[in-house]
């Protein structure tokens, strides 16, 4: 029983982790149909923000929950204004430009902080025990924060005026702009919000994984495959793909080890895309958010 609870918690954490690292990417993809290839670097920058701030004496919670999203969100807006804005409608060029940006960020951070791990910070909170097994309380907190983040995005899209306009733009950008919505401004805000959510995720994961200039590449494969498998709907897509892929990954990893876990994740995604090329929400749950 304890084993089941412990393994179940581990799988749940895997799912939450996947959703956390993918949500920011999904927001940008869902709104703009653009895959941000610098996504991993936004996570990395969030992590660096937390490590630098914590080493400078800032309270770690403030650094993780406020500074990381703020800093990366601002970077996102700047990037959108300077680079992405010129490439709307040229999807492939956008991909390439964000890839260039990704390399640029890696190079920049390496030049400033060096290629090796910056001073690490240990995860706050201790361990909790489930019978004879122990689990990190911080992981539990991450599950909670991921759920809260999902609910916050849902409410923002459903309840606020901006969310309404954003959904309208997402469905039909031309019609929205004919009705007087500045789609350029909506895109800027979307990119900023997506970056901020990504920065938050990177900041929250920094104590668990440590930070490196190239840490982005650890996340992006999983984040990309989650968003692609999920399809265009931001929340339903991320949630369903995270549950499916995280579940498969967790179960396969529990049975055979982490190597097979990742291969199982990829195989599931590939079979899924053969059946539903537009992702889960392109096939079912079409009307969802």
């Amino acid at each position: 029983m304890d084993l089941v609870a412990a393994v179940g918690l581990q799988i749940l954490y895997g799912i939450a982790n996947l959703a956390l690292i993918s949500l920011g990417l999904a927001i940008i993809f869902g709104m703009m149909r653009v895959i941000n290839l610098a996504h991993g670097e936004f996570l990395m920058l969030g992590g660096y923000t937390v490590v630098v701030a914590a080493n400078a004496g800032v309270n770690i919670w403030i650094a993780m929950l406020i500074l990381a999203p703020l800093v990366v969100g601002v970077i996102g807006v700047v990037v959108e204004r300077l680079l992405i804005r010129w490439l709307y409608g040229r999807m492939i060029d956008t991909l390439l430009a964000t890839w260039g940006l990704s390399l640029l960020f890696i190079g920049l951070v390496t030049s400033i902080f060096g290629a090796s791990t910056a001073t690490t910070i240990s995860p706050p909170l201790g361990v909790i025990s489930i019978g004879e097994y122990t689990s990190s309380a911080y992981e539990l907190l991450l599950i909670g924060i991921t759920a809260a983040l999902g609910i916050a995005v849902f409410l923002a899209l459903k309840m606020t005026n901006l969310g309404l306009v954003a959904r309208g733009t997402m469905q039909n950008a031309e019609m929205a702009s004919a009705l007087g919505v500045s789609t350029s401004r909506i895109y800027m805000i979307t990119f900023g919000v997506g970056a901020a959510v990504t920065g938050l995720a990177g900041g929250l994961l920094a104590p668990v994984t440590g930070v490196l200039p190239t840490i982005g590449s650890v996340y992006i494969a999983k984040a990309f495959i989650t968003v692609i498998s999920g399809g265009a709907a931001i929340l339903a897509g991320t949630a369903s793909a995270s549950v499916l892929l995280g579940g498969v990954n967790g179960i396969a990893a529990f049975l055979t080890g982490p190597t097979i876990g990742e291969v199982a994740l990829l195989l599931t995604a590939i079979v899924l895309l053969r059946l539903m090329p537009r992702g889960i929400t392109g096939g079912i749950f079409r009307k969802s958010l």
């Binding site: 149909r33 653009v34 895959i35 680079l83 010129w86 490439l87 999807m91 492939i92 060029d93 991909l95 390439l96 430009a97 890839w99 260039g100 940006l101 990704s102 390399l103 640029l104 960020f105 890696i106 190079g107 920049l108 390496t110 030049s111 190239t214 590449s217 650890v218 992006i220 494969a221 990309f224 495959i225 692609i228 982490p258 190597t259 990742e262 291969v263 994740l265 990829l266 995604a269 590939i270 079979v271 895309l273 053969r274 059946l275 090329p277």
Partner: protein, 369 residues
């Protein structure tokens, strides 16, 4: 006329290659030659992406996956067989087979451009993290350990009829250069066949090609598989040049480099990406010797600048510029001739101008293209 010039250009490029292959070893030092072998292998990889992206219109961000698979398959097969000849064939076939599986899912599932790019990139990244974890004696294929992070030492190529006669690095140079020239001739030929033209038409307008009765999925899968085979060959040459194969062939940096060669050299040409690979190979080696400017930083800036400023790439941009200059000059010459004719025979001026203008506008239209 244009076709003949086209073929002449292709043969001229091949001739320059052959000349370089024959002259280089007697002029350059051994160290440079060994380095060149690696650069040539990368140029073959660039060529494979030039084919499938530039002509097939398939945006593959993980072309290095096939490259790495080729390198690993060659090394593992050569260790198991005790000779290289069949191993080369195995490497190419394994890369093609892998591409057919991935390609079947993507093209027959009608996955869109952006998805395709991201899926191929993800495949490469997952191979990277997978193969990195294979250290230790448990992970082996036949007699060959996979070696995890450290990779495997690749057995050098031997003579096809005598597996005890192993080629020296300076001989591997000939093999690599020969491989590049053959791959170039093969791809140039392929793009001129009916098959190649259908692929280009699909790149230009997929729906129209489909309505004309071509099975778009099949053509895309076929050119993708051919590209993967060439990338597999590049992998064989690469692990012979370097002497070992490590998981780094699958990493994000290699994926990015491959894309950058093609972007910088120019999509829609074959020679452009080859030159791009050589140029950037020497640029990154030069950058590697100093520590003030970071390699990633420079590559990132190059990529962003090219996407925003020179989206066609160097070779097509220069070719356009030369063509525009040439037709402008032709126009000037024709105008001058006309003016002279007009001053000589007064009454024929109107007729002359009338006859001249269609030519003139034609040339101007060509110049503005």
């Amino acid at each position: 006329m244009t076709l003949a010039r086209d073929v002449r250009g292709m043969l001229a490029v091949a001739a320059v290659g052959v000349l370089f292959m024959l002259v280089a070893p007697s002029v350059l030092e051994l160290f440079t030659i060994i380095n060149l072998t690696t650069a040539i292998a990368l140029a073959v990889l660039a060529l494979s992406l030039a084919l499938i992206w530039g002509y097939g219109g398939i945006l593959c961000f993980g072309q290095n996956a096939f490259f790495g698979i080729g390198a690993y398959a060659y090394t593992i097969a050569a260790i198991n067989f005790g000779g290289s000849s069949w191993a080369i064939l195995v490497a190419i076939l394994v890369a093609v087979a892998f591409a057919v599986i991935i390609g079947y899912v993507m093209f027959y599932g009608r996955v869109s451009d952006v998805y395709l790019a991201v899926i191929t990139l993800t495949v490469s990244l997952i191979l990277y993290s997978l193969i990195r974890r294979t250290s230790g004696p448990d992970y082996k294929i036949g007699k060959s350990l996979l070696g995890g992070f450290n990779g495997i030492t690749s057995p050098p190529i031997n003579l096809p009829w005598d597996s005890s006669f192993v080629l020296f690095p300076e001989h591997v140079f000939y093999v690599a250069m020969g491989g590049l020239i053959l791959a170039y001739l093969f791809t140039s030929w392929l793009t001129r066949t009916h098959f190649g033209r259908v692929c280009v038409s699909i790149r230009e307008n997929e729906l129209r090609a489909e309505l004309l009765g071509y099975d778009v999925r099949f053509y895309k899968l076929a050119i993708f598989a051919v590209g993967a085979g060439i990338a597999g060959l590049a992998g064989v040459l690469f692990c012979n040049g370097v002497g070992r194969v490590t998981p780094d062939v699958f990493n994000l940096y290699t994926s990015a480099l491959t894309i950058i060669w093609v972007i910088v050299g120019g999509r829609g040409t074959l020679i452009g990406p080859i030159l791009g690979a050589f140029g950037l190979f020497y640029l990154t080696s030069a950058l590697g010797t100093q520590s003030t400017v970071n390699n990633n930083l420079v590559l990132g800036i190059i990529l962003v600048v090219f996407v925003l400023g020179v989206p066609k790439g160097v070779i097509p941009t220069v070719a356009d510029w030369i063509a525009a200059r040439r037709s402008r000059r032709a126009l000037r010459v024709r105008e001058r001739r006309m003016r002279m004719r007009r001053t000589r025979g007064g009454s024929g001026a109107g007729v002359g101008a009338g006859r001249g203008s269609p030519d003139g506008t034609g040339a101007a239209a060509r110049a503005s293209e």
